[in-house]
């Protein structure tokens, strides 16, 4: 019995830090509200309520959360293996534009179109991720910087394709930069009243799959050990390059899938900046940092971050609090998550020194 309690508390321990980060983040948001002349208690309460406590707001949160979950999984996989890839955004864009181009080309029953489109988007995301990995390895450049640059390339490349090759000629708004609407082969809503679509279910399946891969397979073992101590992995005979390419391939495929789900589930076409401006991938990376690359933690963190964004727009409408408040809260949480990163790193350094003392 005692042992069970111990096990339980040990398994809850990873949740402690994200909770502290959330509380401090909300607190900071409250201070800003107070400074700008709003009632912080009402504001924070409204924020949380607006994000979670009605069927409609919960559905909006899960809709927004879907791409964030994919981005968080993609980042957690890469970062947890010690590869600091910021490439989720670019890979999502590539996945999204691929989906928007491929889906209209297929003449088949809807579900076939969906499957083929999603697979194509995954392949495109994976390939794009491998390209950045190759550039990083070949020219001995920081993966972090390379992937960031690749994000810009993806964004403008997709803009170009939308503007000059696949522009929707029937758009009512002649200034809209968007591709043709996908009529056959979309991800339907789970309940017709709410926006949450089957992409969310696919995201949950991905969470389960990635959890299994990371924790229960030889490959996952290799990625975890590489992330925790690359020298130890090398000593044990784990091939660093191969592990890196496989991890980044998988990470890119998940991001690509996330982009495609957003196209097939909410927009039904590629709209310029549809991935960049909502900041899906940044929320995703924050979620993975918050949870310390814990896969289940990623799921909850991603939904939470999506929730405060939705709540942010609710309080903007109802209380006239600027929705940028959400960005501040997320910023503080990111800062705390990154700080933990630094603390852990410092501890490792001190641990080494302590071992010698």
């Amino acid at each position: 019995m005692n042992d069970k309690i111990k096990k339980l508390t040990a398994s809850l321990k990873p949740l402690l830090y994200p909770l502290i980060a959330i509380v401090v983040g909300l607190f900071a948001g409250g201070i800003i509200m107070a400074i700008t002349g709003h009632d912080p208690i009402k504001g924070i309460f409204g924020l949380v309520k607006g994000g979670f406590f009605s069927p409609y707001s919960l559905a909006s949160t899960l809709t927004r959360g879907t791409p964030v979950i994919f981005a968080a999984l993609s980042a957690a996989l890469a970062w947890g293996s010690g590869y600091s890839s910021m490439g989720a955004q670019g890979q999502m864009i590539i996945g999204a534009i691929t989906a928007a181009i491929v889906a209209p080309l297929i003449n088949a029953p809807g579900w076939v179109v969906v499957i083929v489109t999603l697979l194509a988007a995954m392949a495109a995301g994976a390939l794009y991720s491998l390209m950045s990995a190759w550039v990083s390895a070949r020219f001995d450049a920081y993966l972090l910087v390379i992937t960031l640059m690749f994000n810009y390339v993806a964004d403008y490349f997709a803009s170009y394709l939308t503007n000059y090759v696949f522009l929707d000629p029937n758009a009512l708004d002649k200034l809209a930069i968007q591709t043709q609407k996908i009529e056959n082969g979309i991800l339907p809503r789970i309940l017709s009243r709410y926006t949450t679509h089957y992409g969310f279910i696919i995201a949950l399946v991905c969470v389960a799959l990635v959890y299994f891969i990371v924790n229960k397979t030889s490959f996952g073992y290799k990625t975890r050990m590489t992330g925790l101590n690359a020298s130890f992995a090398q000593y044990g005979g784990i091939k660093a390059k191969r592990t890196m390419y496989l991890v980044l391939l998988l990470s890119g495929a998940i991001a690509g899938l996330g982009g495609a789900c957003e196209v097939l589930g909410t927009k039904f076409r590629y709209v310029d900046k549809m991935i960049t401006s909502p900041g899906y991938s940044w929320s995703g990376i924050t979620a993975s940092l918050m949870s310390g690359y814990n896969i289940l933690g990623c799921l909850f963190s991603a939904i939470f971050l999506a929730g405060i964004t939705v709540g942010g727009s609710v309080v903007e409408l109802s209380m006239n609090i600027p929705s940028e408040i959400t960005a501040i809260i997320q910023g503080v949480i990111t800062m705390l998550a990154t700080a933990r990163f630094v603390i852990n790193w410092k501890k490792k350094q001190n641990g080494k020194a302590g071992e010698q003392a």
Partner: protein, 501 residues
């Protein structure tokens, strides 16, 4: 009596580190405190030096009841400590390090000449020869230790604590150190020596306090005791005398031919190394660290692939091959640094046990890990090596250094492969566990395994090795059979001396 510590109690959580420990010291005396790792000897000294605070108990120094809050208090009461790992500024001179915090100044500026003169006088007075202008990083470890001692003397310490001072020294440097300790005592300094090396204790101590599991077991006069009695008191049982049974070595398991490796500076780190390990023998490599042992092991195990010459493991030519291929050929490897190479501190024990076997049929199937077998294997090794943990889900970082070493040693010795490269397999583990590891190594040898043992602990090399090579300056110069050589002679050869000197 200049120091009296009475009924000191110190607990960490629910671990009692010091259980009513009493220690006293006379002027000009050398008191040795001996005990295994975790016996509480470092704790009691940390309390005396003001690094830790006792829960209860009394400390009297020179007749005055004291309660130190920091080492600064201890220094004010003329107590100094030479730590196991030196607290020196590597890029500064010997003089600057010794006078630090108490410099002689002239018009507010550091008076180089006066400070140097002061250091020179001090070093002559106690026969601790140092070059006052040398940069610390350029000094050998023995010299750095002398600087540490001079530092305490400069701070006017009359009671000096030495924490495992010989752990980092070569045999010849140890001789110098022991001589220094005697000189200091003769000059009226009182000394407390913490160690677990009994031959050193027998060479210099006046009295010996034995600690075990946080308690003082007994305090004896050196003249009335011997190493057997001391080790019995330390461990609480008699140690088995390990004897290498005569054994005929079989086929060659490891063959290294003309191994040569350069460094970035163009110097040859390995220079034509030839060696072989056969089934059923332990081959020891003795040497001062930094003479190429690390690089030799890196080449053999595949961590280093840029070298000339050939390496053959169990009949497979693995020259310039990677770690994976070489491990497959039949080799396991206890690395010299348990945290840099040997483990992942943030990973669970069972994950740490799995390393190198994650693809084997025993622990995985179609790429899916067999969790049950992995946990069973981990639990079995934890029990066999009596590692002090609750369960195999615990993280490596929660273990003490000695227990962490046991995990790594167990993983590699118990792997079902013919050849084991063992680097410092007993570093930092207590005598009982050390004996056990030695038994397992010898057991592997008796079952026709081959072991290459690289250790800075000469007694370990001498005790276990069927054959011994001496490594100096990137070369294996001398080869001896078991019993043909003693510690003194090896020590000389390790420093580049000739065999017939």
């Amino acid at each position: 009596m200049i120091l009296q510590m009475k009924d000191i109690v110190k607990t960490y959580g629910n671990v009692v580190a010091n259980d009513h420990v009493s220690i006293d010291l006379n002027e000009g005396e050398i008191l040795a405190i001996v005990g295994e790792n975790g016996a509480g000897k470092s704790t009691i000294m940390k309390i005396l030096y003001g690094l830790e605070k006792a829960d209860s108990g009394e400390i009297t120094v020179w007749g005055e009841k004291v309660n130190f809050r920091s080492p600064i208090d201890a220094m004010k009461h003329h107590i100094g400590m030479v730590q196991q790992h030196f607290m020196l500024f590597g890029s500064m001179t010997v003089t600057e390090n010794i006078v630090y915090n108490n410099e002689i100044a002239k018009n507010g500026f550091f008076d180089r000449k006066a400070n140097r003169e002061k250091v020179r006088q001090l070093s002559e007075k106690y026969g601790l020869m140092v070059d006052p202008d040398a940069i610390i990083d350029d000094c050998p470890v023995g010299t750095q230790q002398r600087v540490e001692i001079l530092k305490t003397l400069y701070q006017d310490a009359s009671l000096i604590i030495f924490d495992e001072p010989s752990a980092v020294l070569t045999p010849n440097e140890v001789d110098d150190l022991l001589r220094t300790l005697r000189e200091l005592a003769k000059a009226g300094k009182s000394i407390i020596l913490i160690t677990h090396k009994l031959n050193e204790v027998m060479a210099v101590a006046d009295r010996i306090t034995v600690m075990r599991a946080g308690k003082v077991i007994k305090t004896l006069n050196r003249a009335d005791t011997n190493t057997d009695e001391l080790s019995y008191l330390m461990i609480g049982r008699h140690t088995a005398d390990l004897q290498l049974r005569p054994h005929n070595p079989g086929e060659t398991l490891l063959q290294v031919k003309d191994l040569t490796m350069g460094s970035a500076a163009g110097k040859k780190v390995l220079n034509g190394v030839n060696l072989e390990v056969r089934a059923g023998e332990i081959v020891g490599i003795a040497g001062v660290s930094g003479n190429g042992q690390t690089e030799l092991v890196r080449c053999i195990t595949g961590l280093e692939r840029e070298y000339e010459g050939s390496v053959t493991v169990c009949g497979h030519d693995v020259s310039n091959k990677g770690v994976d291929t070489i491990r497959q050929a039949g080799l396991s490897h206890i690395p010299e640094d348990r945290y840099v190479w040997g483990s992942a501190r943030e990973a669970s024990l069972s994950d740490n046990f799995l390393m190198g076997e994650e693809n084997s049929e025993k622990y995985s199937r179609h790429g899916v890990l067999k969790s049950k077998q992995i946990i069973e294997h981990a639990d079995k090794l934890i029990a066999e090596y009596s590692v002090k943990v609750d369960n195999s889900r615990q993280k490596m970082k929660e273990l003490s250094g000695g227990n962490a070493q046991k995990i790594i040693t167990a993983r590699e010795i118990e792997r079902e492969v013919p050849l084991t490269i063992a680097c410092e397999p007993t570093r930092g583990i207590d005598i009982g566990a050390m004996e056990f590891v030695h038994e397992r190594l010898v057991n592997k040898r008796d079952h026709n395994g081959g072991i290459l043992l690289v250790s800075s602990e000469l007694s370990e090399i001498l005790k276990l090795s069927d054959r011994i090579y001496v490594m100096y300056n990137g070369q294996l110069n001398h080869e001896f059979k078991h019993g043909e050589v003693d510690e003194r002679k090896l020590g000389k050869l390790m420093l580049g001396g000739k065999a017939d000197e």
